[in-house]
Symmetry: C2
């Protein structure tokens, strides 16, 4: 007897392993299936000739992966308002993508492919997308020796030793991934920059990368060392007012543009944490930035000048960027942008926004986020950062009255700017999944999407990313999205709740060290400088009775933050030294609330483990195991953080941890002995 049954059964057996096939995460969110000839029959990707290289890429992507109707890619030089954006329009029997620039067509093509991946209906579609920022840039803190400062996904993607001869296929894959989310610029090297990057041999290597990236609409920028004229140029000094120095930079810029005509410009960390800068010659940040700006201006190049400066003085570190830069307002050239970290200290799990935003009325400002998780568990912890990015972008500074959000201050809405920009420190390395943690890919993705459209919600971005990266099945998407949306708050809870900050371990910044101290070390590198724990209470008094950092905020924030009763509780210990017994809004004492927050963080991570394990059948085995393994580390680390911080602060509060809370499993003295040997990359 011969029936269909066995064949049907065999088919299932065959399909199952494919569905669960191990994957290494290298495809990121670009998990398009090539179309077969049959699927492509009768569907065309129409492009007018002559076709630029970027448009050619757009056409090839659609030719290879597009399952929908015919797509007409139209360049329209009248549509200047689109800038790098595009229109997507349903036209009876085909789709039209209209753009003003080549890049717009490429972005439009990726938009179509994303909609296809998400399983959306395109019938009747009519939308216009215009990016919120002109320059959407990744900062790589990659060193020329192949290490990455604060990189947790292996060594640098850039193989300096092999360039310009060997061109890794990952360079194009990297550029394509960026283009697919609208990122159009990259700084290749660490802000703690080696002067060598400007040597002719290195510029050849940079050119090789720029040539690859250009096809995907990516412009290359470089971090420069302010002492370059002296160190590699043979000039007597690097004084920005020294004509020789100025000439050296002009010549160097000319040399760069000769081989990289679309070179973007320079990123500069000057007079910060030991880096050289104009103050070495009693010049101002403006003197330094303007010199470079003048050299770049003829080529339309930009200077991104970082405001991350602080000196070991008695002044509250949180106030210093403001104090140094506000007096220079109006002194910068129009192709200089001041690049400001989202918070006034340094990429902590939660910070209020840097008060410098909006405080310079005549100076273009841009925000710098950190995608790499320097203070958020490296590539071991699942922390979805869109909520952190959004929290800052949506913060109302009141700089020009109510509604003066940081997004509007930096995107050209409230302040005119020659060009607007937004930056983030990348989390990308040579790991096969690019970012170390599969879910860290979502942070790269989220930055790109928010740089394009800062009105997107964290929820929308997570939803897009999950559908593209894993599966559009709702029973997977919903719980995973919830987990992601909760994850940043979980990390704040188990690391530094209620406005605590900078209580991590010295140097490598992984794990808790609220007791941290170094003989003769800079006070503003020590946790005690920030938490100020004593028998009276906990927190940094930045109110009028303390450092008065609150005065740097526009009204009414100065008053709201400055008053213990009105200060948002999630910033309480940032702005105030709060008595242990202070009553929180829920009636608990500050000490009890601190304990509950730490414990909540632990419980949240354990819940993430449950969510993930439960969805095993939706994920390929390799990514499932990778994430499962990372969540285990995160669960252990959360308990480590909780125990370390509560046991340590308890020596000051001298109160029991509320008994309803799961008890510590560590001894404080044992935790103090933990000294991890971690490099800046792994």
């Amino acid at each position: 007897m011969f029936t269909n049954k066995p064949r049907f059964f065999a088919c299932f057996i065959f399909l199952l392993p494919i569905f669960l096939l191990a994957e290494d995460g290298s495809l990121l969110w670009l998990r398009y299936d090539p179309v077969t000839a049959a699927q492509a029959a009768g569907r065309h990707i129409i492009v007018a000739k002559p076709m630029g290289a970027i448009v050619q890429v757009a056409k090839t992507e659609l030719d290879t992966y597009w399952r929908g109707p015919t797509v007409d890619l139209v360049l329209d030089k009248k549509m200047k308002h689109l800038n790098e954006g595009y229109q997507l329009k349903w036209k009876k029997d085909h789709l039209q993508v209209v753009a003003y620039k080549d890049r717009g067509l490429l972005y439009g093509a990726y938009h179509l492919l994303r909609l296809q991946q998400e399983g959306r209906d395109l019938q009747g579609i009519d939308l216009t997308e215009i990016p919120d920022y002109d320059v959407r840039i990744l900062n790589h803190w990659d060193n020329l020796d192949g290490t990455v400062e604060r990189g947790y996904a292996g060594r640098s993607l850039w193989k300096w030793d092999e360039l310009p001869t060997a061109i890794s296929p990952r360079y194009a894959a990297y550029a394509r991934s960026n283009a697919s989310i609208g990122i159009n610029a990259v700084v290749l090297n660490n802000v703690n920059a080696s002067p060598d990057i400007l040597r002719p041999d290195y510029l050849l290597k940079v050119k090789a990368l720029a040539d690859v990236f250009r096809l995907y609409g990516i412009q290359v920028y470089l971090s420069i060392n302010f002492s370059s004229p002296k160190v590699i140029g043979g000039v007597h000094d690097s004084d920005p007012l020294n004509p020789e120095v100025r000439a050296w930079w002009k010549a160097k810029v000319r040399e760069i543009y000769k081989s990289i005509p679309d070179f973007g410009g320079f990123l500069v960390k000057a007079n910060s944490e030991g880096q050289p800068g104009p103050q070495d010659y009693n010049r101002t940040h403006a003197d330094g930035a303007n010199m470079l700006a003048d050299a770049l201006a003829p080529y339309n190049g930009l200077v991104m000048w970082r405001a991350f400066v602080y000196n070991p003085t008695n002044e509250d570190r949180a106030k210093q960027a403001y104090l140094e830069f506000v007096p220079l307002d109006g002194a910068f050239r129009d192709n200089v942008i001041i690049q400001i970290k989202n918070g006034p200290i340094d990429f902590q799990p939660r910070e209020p926004f840097t008060p410098l935003f909006g405080a310079m009325k005549e100076t273009t400002q841009m925000i710098e986020f950190q995608i790499t998780q320097e203070y958020l568990g490296f590539s071991n912890h699942l922390v979805y950062l869109a909520p952190l990015f959004k929290e800052t972008l949506d913060s109302d500074t009141y700089a020009s009255g109510k509604g003066s959000t940081i997004a509007k201050l930096t995107d050209g809405t409230l302040r005119t700017a020659k060009r607007t920009a937004i930056a983030a420190v990348a989390n990308i390395g040579e790991d096969s999944n690019w970012t170390g943690h599969n879910f860290a890919q979502a942070n790269w993705y989220a930055f790109g999407r928010l740089a394009w459209n800062h009105s997107l919600t964290s929820d929308q971005i997570a939803s897009e990313w999950i559908r593209s990266t894993f599966t559009p099945h709702e029973e997977f998407v919903q719980p995973i999205k919830q987990m992601m949306l909760e994850s940043r708050e979980a990390a704040v809870n188990y690391m530094m709740p209620l406005g605590l900050h900078h209580i991590f371990a010295f140097d490598h910044h992984y794990g808790p060290e609220p007791w941290g101290d170094r003989q003769g070390g800079r006070p503003d590198w020590m946790p005690w400088y920030y938490h100020n724990a004593n028998s009276a209470g906990l927190g940094f008094d930045r109110s009028a009775t303390g450092s008065n950092a609150v005065s740097q905020y526009f009204a009414p924030l100065d008053r709201i933050y400055g008053d213990l009763e009105t200060c948002p509780e999630n910033f309480l210990l940032w702005f105030h030294h709060v008595p242990w017994s202070y009553q929180m809004k829920n009636g608990r004492s500050m000490w009890a609330e601190l304990c509950y927050k730490y414990d909540e963080g632990v419980q949240q991570v354990r819940a993430f483990q449950q969510i993930w394990d439960k969805l095993e059948s939706h994920v390929d085995s390799q990514r499932f195991a990778d994430v499962q393994s990372k969540l285990k580390i995160q669960a252990k680390d959360a308990v480590w953080w909780k125990d370390a911080c509560l046991l340590y602060f308890q020596t000051f509060s001298e109160q029991p941890i509320p008994y309803a809370i799961e008890r510590p499993i560590h001894e404080l003295e044992d935790l103090k002995k933990i000294k991890l040997k971690l490099k800046h990359h792994n």
Copy 2:
């Protein structure tokens, strides 16, 4: 102005530190406060002269600590039925303690002091206490080099190098502690015995200890090495039928009794785990035991001959003691007692009783418990063992019909015996708190109390111990008692639930190693021999289809244990190889139930931590911190056990851990790499 207030306040300040004064646990449950002269005024401790040394101790204890009315200590040679017991009687205006032996008066005195400590009302008291067993003996596995096999409270109490010259005050303190709970005998040295213990110089040291112990009614026994005649006696062999050998033992025994007239006898581990024995000369256990018994008989000495024998054969290890000893029933002298471990394998967290109990009708049997926590987390885990002891003592063997409990089989009720005995391996070392863990003191206490009266409940004993050792405050006693009563089941849950056994780490037995294997090692030392995990299921088939160990049990146990459907679930994997999907009584699959049990164990220990922390104000700071610290270790170890066992068995069950359960935080491969370097003592 001068008022009383300041003095009153000062008094409180003065009292507080006393209440919470750090204590090292060295007082055990004997935390009597000496009476002042005022308190003792008009109250007498009356004793007829001449007064024996033991009675003198009884009188001194009462003189020093008794706050109640006059006590009359009466020796009554007509009251033979009291044996070592006593009567306590209220006589109008004083209390009378009547005993047949000196020891009885001592035990009666400690009973009074215990009642005083517990805060009981003695008015109208009238009780008679007669011990259930004649010999209530601790087995010390102490080696002559000062180490202790399976000892976790530091090195041996016995300072062999200093003896007989230096007499540590701890010898008397130890004996007093034993006497206070009715223990009347100790084996000084390890059952893996060095022949040296019988050398004249060592016997002098033994005599010195015996002289101290005698004051507290404690008799000394020794473990002997069966090869002693050959090794230290210069005899050609140690064949028990060799007249020279027999003569050597007779002479040795005579020598011992000459200096220690109340010497108790010998404990023997023969032909077991590499120890020499009569089988080395093709003689039987009976030949060996009887030779020693004949030597001891003139002095009323006893031989305790251990039944813990098993050979690396194909026969189920659980069956071997029965197979070797049952054929010898009736062949032993009446001063030989067969000493049988409670379970047929080796002091596992839970075992069914050894079927040898009751199977020898003409042979005196005694039980051997283990107080030291070889398989129960050493001195790190809080595991109150009274429920384990009671579980075996109350087990009905059906050897002489229903009601043939092991207690009744060994206490003389169902089997006549020249003398009855009960033994346990001690957990005592030189640590200041004696037992390593403050709560391990309760296990020493519980053994003594049960050896005296096996009808006491675990609850009663815990209650006595807590009140005596910490405080009689009910708000402390109740939760601590609940914690203690639950603790053994918690350990079973997180270590070896559902009848799992012998899946601990090789050699040191601390921590899980279900994957354990050694090239060329004895199969019956390997975890896989016991758990038999495979894709079909888990457990050791000891039913009729397997090793048929069930056949060694009397009806109806053979049938109850032998049938998967009637076998108690807490012995399921002991007696059966059970399919992963087998449905348990609560409806869960066996695999799911296994997971829930492990998780329950973890949650139980965390609850213990909460209970303990909450009661901090009732405990002195040192004992509070010591126990808190141990509970942290236990909480971590419980998760270690859970993760190790579930992740390992999951490789066979190939099923997810139920998603409601807290997820593993370890990687199986990491756990497999853990190799602790632990000695037999610490």
